[in-house]
Symmetry: D2
Subunit: 361 residues, 4 copies
């Protein structure tokens, strides 16, 4: 199979470039009978949409999604759901200047090497604009999982550059421009971003995504372990450089007595596993963390080469996110929801009932 489809039973196949006519995807494998309208998808699209705060790119994109098929009289029919977002605010002229050069840390160089050509306008297919369709498709998975089982998939920004969220309150996450659960850090983040903008630089971020009320037993060892598919899906998001499940890299310095999540008749006593044991969900919260690199599009000049191999200096104008991590929150939720949905279907295929019990016998 080619590279633009994810999932085995609940599949999302996407198309579209940053400055093409439209972005779209086909969601195949959604069970029939789910009440679904464009509004259900728009909410998350709007959370991802640029221009929501002065800390994200000021591009104005309507990002209005259309459902082209698979829904009849307000309900899914079990046939493929075609989704489309027409591109509006394109401003192609912004990009003509990078036609023949490779922006450092962008995909310009590798796309040119692989394909021998590239749609250089705004990064073409490699633009994070592509993630809009992930969010739209993920919203379908999120709605199904929540309606059927009460599964909730939510993400937040756990670290912005040097600033870590320390207190935690889900209610705060949607109340600030950073999706930060620690209200006490918001003004610090605002000041940090303001200074960063002035400097013309960018910064990385850490996003955490959590799924609660996950059915027990999801995951297909040994290669399609739930955590392996989660790692695949999250690492496929633009700018992601690392994925952790549960304790993640902290496990390296943990002793066995510290890491192992002991069990009692009342349930688990800790969750270093992040909700996955042996590649199968345990019924605890699924917890994953991702590292996003800083935006590579900077006003500050950088050394690079042009298509003929000559040294050039690159300065990226145009409108860009100083921290792509912020807008990755709904994207991370979408990818985790897509993986859970796919594994829910795979689990059912073996005729297992789906149990969302407190994780005990």
């Amino acid at each position: 199979m080619s590279g633009n489809t994810i999932g085995k039973l609940f599949t999302v196949t996407s198309f579209g470039e940053s400055h093409g006519l439209a972005l779209g995807c086909i969601v195949d494998g959604c069970p029939p009978g789910l009440a679904l309208s464009a509004e259900d998808l728009q909410r998350d699209l709007d959370r991802r949409k640029p221009g929501q705060s002065r800390f994200t790119t000021q591009r104005k994109e309507a990002d209005a999604v259309k459902i082209l098929s698979g829904v009849f009289e307000g309900k899914t029919t079990g046939t493929p759901i075609g989704l489309m977002i027409e591109n509006t605010d394109q401003k192609s002229k912004d990009y003509s200047n990078i036609k023949d050069i490779f922006r450092p840390a962008h995909a310009d160089y590798t796309y040119q090497q692989k394909y021998g050509m590239r749609d250089y306008r705004g990064g073409g297919r490699s633009s994070a604009r592509e993630t809009a369709m992930r969010v739209a498709a993920g919203a379908i998975a999120k709605k199904y999982l929540e309606q059927q089982f009460g599964v909730q998939v939510r993400a937040y920004l756990s670290q912005l550059g040097p600033i870590k969220a320390e207190q935690f309150d889900w209610d705060q996450v949607e109340q600030n421009a950073f999706f930060c659960p620690d209200v006490s850090k918001v003004s610090e983040m605002e000041n940090y971003m303001a200074a960063l903008n002035k400097e013309g630089n960018s910064i990385g971020a850490r996003i955490s995504v959590v799924a609660s009320k996950v059915p027990v037993g999801l995951g297909e060892p040994v290669f399609d372990r739930l955590d392996a598919d989660i790692a695949h899906a999250l690492m496929s998001i633009n700018a992601v450089k690392g994925v952790e499940i549960g304790a993640g890299f902290e496990s390296v310095s943990q002793k066995g007595t510290e890491h192992r999540d002991e069990m009692t008749p009342e349930g688990f006593l800790s969750n270093n596993a992040g909700g996955v044991l042996g590649g199968i969900s345990s019924g605890q919260d699924i917890v994953a963390h991702i590292a996003l690199k800083p935006t590579s599009s900077l006003r500050l000049p950088g050394r690079s080469i042009d298509v003929d191999g000559n040294a050039v200096e690159v300065v990226t104008t145009g409108r860009h996110d100083p921290c792509v991590g912020i807008r990755a929150v709904p994207i991370a939720e979408a990818m985790l929801a897509i993986v859970l949905m796919d594994h829910l279907l795979r689990h059912r295929a073996q005729n297992f009932d789906v149990r969302c019990e407190t994780p005990k016998i």
Copy 2:
């Protein structure tokens, strides 16, 4: 597709439990004409084999692999390669005592929940014993990649619990029981492990895996990015809780000017990307790191429940690795090689030539 196959064109499908008759796998998609014998696979199997030092389990397993098909007159024929390792030293009696209880941090609980039953002998399918076939299959990929393109896939232990390798020398890696590239830390590690064994505890580890001379252009955006498939393959290894590409989680606190790998006509000036840009290999070394949790099988008692939900105390006797990370070195190499091989075939399918040049135009 079910969960025991990895890869799209170069596929590995495996079977076998810790204490069954045999482990095996089918390697499909290996091009014809590769000189191949069991010895080629045995070398890496022996690197993974237990009982190699007093720091790994003292189980004695011959782990002698047989090639059952796909090789004729010493060369691969392009037909599927059947591999098998017969299980010898099984000692099933060691395990009867855990028949009805769930060992903390093991897959006992989730397998029982998913399948309603389980082969409890040594963890059955969830045992790390399964990784022997990964190593055997990976050795085929490693040999093909090296012979055709000079690609080298090598791993080492970069951290054992609190002890980090600081100096680096590839030549040292195979010279000590820890696959540690820093000879100055070996005796410290030996003492640490000795104390750990005495204590009856276990510890996590960090393994780094590097592929050099990788062709430019491997990877199929957007979902089958090379780094996404690497994350999938590495996270599918038992006990792995985190995967990083290049700078990984350090990217969170990096600024754009710091992270972006600038280019000159002579090549890249740094490798925070870990050899992957936009999901496609850049020709730089592919660098990945994984976190392995500490072994869950401990002599120190832990709280758990039995199949009826009653509280029990678990003490794991039998022979176990105090640090599973050590033996993960050849496994990580195998998984990275399998992913690179698969993407090499996928790349070729589009009729691109395979270039292993210094990464410049």
Copy 3:
């Protein structure tokens, strides 16, 4: 993977119902650099389009296809190609009367049984309208195969009900409304269809599809044999009930001496194999035949049941093809081209050169 994608490397994923907003598909895996415009696809779409003669449905559908992505400055970029056809002439009122009944030999009954609901308008997803996207996607494969290797994929009507084409002239195929290679049978077919229309009945047809100048060596034994994938693709076309490769069912009464295609230094002496030996293309013409059932939508009343299981009499009004086989000609070409394209990519993946020689050493 769900059921709306075909192909492993050259994949076509489609969506859309007969009376939805639009039909569309995503063609993934097309190599970069192919000159492509909507006109390239429109030609075959027009050959399939209804209302081309009085022997096909009089529905007027513009069937104007739009390329939404994957093409930049007139050439494919190697990224997914999004295609869309907006539905125009829908006349939904025509169908409200069949909302609660199952038309005999239609998919109404099975869709209702499987999904518990259905989009009954014009058959919804089960409508042959879906095949428009196959034709559009197939046109991309046809163009690539022809441009790169001179492969030609052409089909014709070899039998209409009782009337068999006996003489053969490729030049005639596009000269008559039946795609019939035997000009001497055309008026007979016209009279037959006129009588059939008067009677209110429909008739089956046999379509033959031929690919010439096919490279030697395409096909992946043992399960993904070229002929097996061709059978899959052709049987997936609406109304197809049989597929033959080469001699097909004539092989049943052939003796070995009669069937075996002997070889000489000048090439094969016959083509009972239909261009496939052991599941791999031999370089001879690929020859396949398909049987299409008569249209099930008839003015002549038929017995059926309604959703409550009560006996009903069904009379299908509306505009329908008395012989769906006629319009299947470009569809059969498209499906064969898609399979050949997919196998061409799979063949290349193993680093085999692509040879289009006369089939000898």
Copy 4:
């Protein structure tokens, strides 16, 4: 994915050549809890086994299958089932003479062209010996389908060369060497085969396969229609040149009023559809027919070429089936069972209940 795996959720991946050490396969996706022993598989293997009558090859193969994994305490565990048959009676010397020539109608030529080399011993991977593993894997699917739903998958020989079975009695099928349901034709077939053997020639056959009590709703339109997957699976069997569903090629000359299977509250009045409507099972019997070409290995000399392109005369000695069709009966059953099993799992994934009712509302 490479070519040696069939199925999406119930997958069979096979390896092995005619004269290698062993044949084997991995059956992945079998639900846990199915009572399974080697004997369950051996019964069908023995039906396929050569040397059962004087009308099949006199090679003696034990074809004793071993279950290497996936079964614990007599029941499947949900983990992959490894199966192996060791090759015994190999007689490699029989084949050295064909090392450098291409037997007409065999895969020798195309394998050499594709892979640049081949295991010429007995056809290597292209030998029908490979089908032994299909039969073993299919027996697992057959047992599951029968135990869970009472589905029966049975095949018979409907035509041997010019001789058609006219009367029909399932009870006769296993009572004669031809799997012929018409006892009145058996002696005619015996005489025909005796004459054929004397002549040194071979003959084709038609096999019919029927699945009864099939659940309603199996099949994933539009590309993974049940009939399309059946066509794929049956056409992938060695020597098969045609596949029909239901009326098959008779549909070509049928009128709509004749072909459409009318329904009444008591059920369908006919089964021209062969149990599949719109690619989804209707609950009627699934009926498929396949055409098998005559064996290509003949004592009668045939013209061919050698690897250097020189004209040669080929005479095939050794032991061969004068009619490969006869032994294809259990193979056809196995392939249909595998497809049904796969689609049963895919159907369940969408959370539909599995109904085996008489096909009415």
